[in-house]
Symmetry: C2
Subunit: 111 residues, 2 copies
C-alpha cells in the first residue's frame, strides 16, 4: 500500500523511444543513455524497461531493426516505420491533452 515518492509516467517510455527514433536510427543502449543525458537524470528508464519495449514495438511493426557492426561492435539499430510515425503523432497529441488537463487543474500556481 506504500505509494513511492517519485512521479512515474506509464506510457512515457514508448513516447520517448518513438520520438528519439523519429530523429535517427539508434540502438537500445544508446537510447537508455540518451534519455538519461538529455533529461539530466530526471528520467532514467532501466534496461528491463527499454529492451522489452523495443521488442514489443518491433512486434507491432512500429519500428524495424537491423544488425550493424560499428566501431568493432555489434548492435541492433532501430528506426521508425510509417506506422510508428502515426503512433508517435497519436501519443504526442495524447500527451499534450493530458498535460493541458493537469495544468488547468493545477492552476496559475503551476506556471
Amino acid at each position: 500500500m506504500k505509494k513511492t515518492n517519485p512521479i512515474f509516467l506509464n506510457g512515457v517510455p514508448e513516447l520517448l523511444v518513438l520520438r528519439l527514433l523519429s530523429r535517427r536510427e539508434m540502438y537500445g543502449y544508446q537510447i537508455i543513455e540518451e534519455i538519461r543525458a538529455q533529461t539530466r537524470e530526471t528520467l532514467s528508464f532501466g534496461e528491463g524497461c527499454i529492451y522489452p519495449y523495443l521488442h514489443y514495438l518491433e512486434a507491432e511493426k512500429l519500428v524495424s531493426s537491423r544488425r550493424r557492426e560499428v566501431d568493432g561492435r555489434s548492435r541492433n539499430y532501430y528506426k521508425l516505420t510509417p506506422r510508428g510515425g502515426k503512433r508517435l503523432d497519436e501519443l504526442t497529441t495524447e500527451w499534450k491533452r493530458v498535460t493541458t488537463g493537469i495544468s488547468s487543474l493545477m492552476g496559475e500556481q503551476y506556471a
Copy 2:
C-alpha cells in the same frame, strides 16, 4: 505484455487530490467528479483509485477528515494538513521537473 493506448501517470492522482484540497475542503465523490469536469474527461480516476488514496493520505496525516451533514447528506470532508502542503510543494516541483525533461527530449515539435 499488452501496452494500453492511453498514457497513464503514476502519482498524478495524489498530486491532483492534494492540489484540489489545498483550495478548499472537499469530499471524495466531489473530487472524482471535479477531476473529470475540470479536465473535460481527459483525466478520469475511478472510485477504486480515489477512495483508497484518501484513506492513505489520511493515514499519512497529509489530509484530515470530518463527517459533515450538508443538504441532508452525510459526507466525509477532507482538507489539507500543513504536512500535506509540504508534500504538495514537493510533488509540484517534481512534476515540473519531469515535464520539463520530457519537453526537452521531445523538442520543438512538442510546442
